[in-house]
Symmetry: C2
C-alpha cells in the first residue's frame, strides 16, 4: 500500500561531538520517506525553495519516492541549525528559518489520493488537519508533533489528534500532552484524545507502544491490550541523532503499509523495523546512511534486535 507523507523537506546545519556538516538535506518528510521507501511506495507533500535542485531531487528518485507533491516556491527552503554537543538526546536549536514553509498550503496531487496510509509529520497541526481532511478514505493515519505545538497551539493540536489512528511522540511530549508524569497514565490520557495507538519514543532506550481497547492489539480477547516495547540498538558511536525519530516513524509505518493485514504481530514487527531504521539514521550525518542502505542490511539488523531482546 502506498503512503502519502506531508512534512518538511529542509536543509540542516548540524554540529555533534563527531563533527559539523552544513546544509545537509533534511526535514522530517525526507527522513520519513527514505526510511519508509525500503518497505513500500512513498509519496511526498512538501514545499521547497529555489535552493532545492536536481541533486536533492535525485536523493528521492534513487529510492523511487514520488516527488510530484513537492511544490517549488520562490525563495529559500526551510533551514534549521542545531547542535548536540552536551547531550546527544536533545538538540540545541541555534536557528530556524521557515522561509517558503511560512506560507505552505499543502496541495494533494490527484495521483496521491488513493494512498491508503497517511503520515502527518511534525508541522503546524492546522496544516496536518487540512491534509487529513483531504484524505478522508485513508485506512491508517499516523502523525508526529512536538513540544511547541503542545504548549502553544493546544486547541489546533487537539482537533488534529481526533483524526489520528497512531501518534508517535517522545516521553517528554507524552507527559506534557497528558499533564501526567507517569508514563502509563500519560499514555492513557493521550489515547483518550483520539489515537487508538500511542508510540512513545525513548531515544537510546527504544520505544513503547500503548493501545486503547479499539486498537490493533486484539490478541488476548477480553484482556486490556498490554504495551509493547522495542529496544534501541546500543551503538558505539552516534554521529548525528537528527532524524532518528522520523526514521523510526518511516520504518514503522512503511512496514505496516507493506502488510496485507494489520495484525498485532505485524504491529510488533513494525516497532522493531522502526527502531532498526532509527539505528541506521544516526550512524552518519543527515540522511547519508539512509541513502546508502540496502534491504539486506535492514533485515540483518532486525535479527540483531531480536537477539538483543528475545529469550529463545
Amino acid at each position: 500500500m502506498a503512503i502519502t507523507v506531508v512534512g518538511s523537506v529542509a536543509y540542516d546545519s548540524i554540529e555533534t561531538p563527531a563533527g559539523r556538516k552544513d546544509r545537509c538535506l533534511g526535514g522530517a518528510a525526507t527522513y520519513f520517506s527514505l526510511a519508509a521507501s525500503f518497505f513500500t511506495d512513498v509519496r511526498v507533500i512538501a514545499v521547497v525553495g529555489e535552493d532545492f535542485g536536481p541533486d536533492q531531487e535525485a536523493v528521492f528518485k534513487a529510492r523511487k519516492i514520488d516527488t510530484r507533491g513537492i511544490e517549488r516556491a520562490p525563495g529559500k527552503s526551510f533551514f534549521w541549525e542545531g547542535s548536540y554537543l552536551d547531550n546527544l538526546n536533545e538538540a540545541k536549536t541555534h536557528a530556524t528559518e521557515l522561509n517558503v514553509f511560512a506560507s505552505f498550503a499543502p496541495k494533494i496531487p490527484e495521483a496521491y489520493r488513493d494512498s491508503e496510509f497517511l503520515f502527518l509529520a511534525n508541522i503546524d497541526p492546522v496544516l496536518q488537519r487540512q491534509v487529513r481532511e483531504q484524505m478522508p478514505d485513508a485506512r491508517l493515519v499516523a502523525g508526529d508533533t512536538m513540544n511547541y505545538w503542545i504548549k502553544d497551539h493546544r486547541d489546533a493540536l487537539l482537533q488534529m489528534l481526533k483524526g489520528l489512528d497512531v501518534l508517535l511522540i517522545n516521553d517528554t511530549e507524552a507527559r506534557m500532552l497528558a499533564g501526567n508524569n507517569n508514563l502509563v497514565l500519560a499514555a492513557r490520557g493521550v489515547l483518550a484524545l483520539g489515537p487508538h495507538t500511542l508510540v512513545v519514543k525513548h531515544g537510546e532506550y527504544g520505544a513503547t507502544a500503548f493501545f486503547s481497547n479499539d486498537s490493533f492489539d486484539t490478541k488476548r480477547e477480553g484482556a486490556p491490550p498490554h504495551p509493547f516495547r522495542a529496544p534501541a540498538l546500543p551503538l558505539e558511536e552516534v554521529v548525528d541523532p537528527t532524524g532518528a525519530g522520523d526514521s523510526f516513524a518511516g520504518g514503522f509505518f512503511g512496514y505496516l503499509a507493506s502488510q496485507r493485514e494489520l495484525t498485532p504481530a505485524a504491529f510488533r514487527r513494525a516497532m522493531f523495523y522502526g527502531s532498526t531504521m532509527g539505528s541506521f539514521a544516526v550512524e552518519r550525518f543527515g540522511t547519508e546512511r539512509l541513502q546508502q542502505l540496502t534491504r539486506q542490511e535492514i533485515d540483518d539488523r532486525f535479527v540483531l534486535f531480536r537477539e538483543l531482546t528475545h529469550l529463545d
Copy 2:
C-alpha cells in the same frame, strides 16, 4: 545452589509522591535476599543494632533466609532517610547514619562457606574484597557499587572489581566508572576492569547486559557476544523506588543460582527475572510487596515481560 550475600540490613524513612513511611525494614542485603529467596537458598552477612528485633528477624525467616551471619552489635542499625518527591528515578538523601555499620568487619559463618554463589551488595569495596577473599571457591561472584565509591574510593573499588564476574550498576555509574559517555564504550571500559559481564540498569527503561569474550554468552561462536536488554514494566504507580536495583539483583542472581548450567539462555531469563522482581518491589513501600509475593505471581509477571518484548 546457595547464595551468600553481604550488605546492609537497615531502616529507611522514605517519602515519595505516594506518601511517607518511617523506619521501614530496608538495606540492600534485605531487598536482595527477599527477591533471591523465591529461587534458591540465601544466606545473609550483615550487622544490625539493638533495634533489630524478632519482628524483623521474622521477615527473613518467613522466606527461609539464613540469618546466622547477621551479627548483633551494641547501638543502632544503619539508618537512611530519603525522598523522591521531584524525581522517582533518583533519591534525594536527607540523612545517612552508619551506626553499627561504621565498624562492620564481615565474618563468614562456617555453614556459609560452601555457597557457590556470592553477592557483594553496595558497601565499602574494602569490605566487599575481604568477603570475596574469604570465599575463594565461589563459582560466580556478582556485586554492586555506587557513585560515592567510584568517585572517592577508586583504588579500592578497582581492586574489588578484579574479583567480580558480574557487576550490576546504573547508567550514570557505568559512565562515571569508565569515564565515557557512550554506553557501549563505557561497558567495554568496565569489562576491561575485571567482570566478564556488566549489567547496566536503566530504571524505568529496564537493563542491558554487556559481555566480554570470556563471558557466558558463547551462543554464536566466533562472533563477539552481543548485548541483551530486558525491559522494565510500565507501571501505573511507583509507590517507592527504594530497593528496585537490589531486588533486580536478587531476582537475577537468584535465578542464575537455581540453574544447573549457566548458559546464555539461562542468563537472558535471569535478566527478565531481575526486571520482574524490581517491578514488584516498587509497588509498595519498603519490602512490603516482596514479603507478600508468591512464586505464581512472579511467573505470571515473567509472562507479561515476554509479551511486552517478544515478536511472536
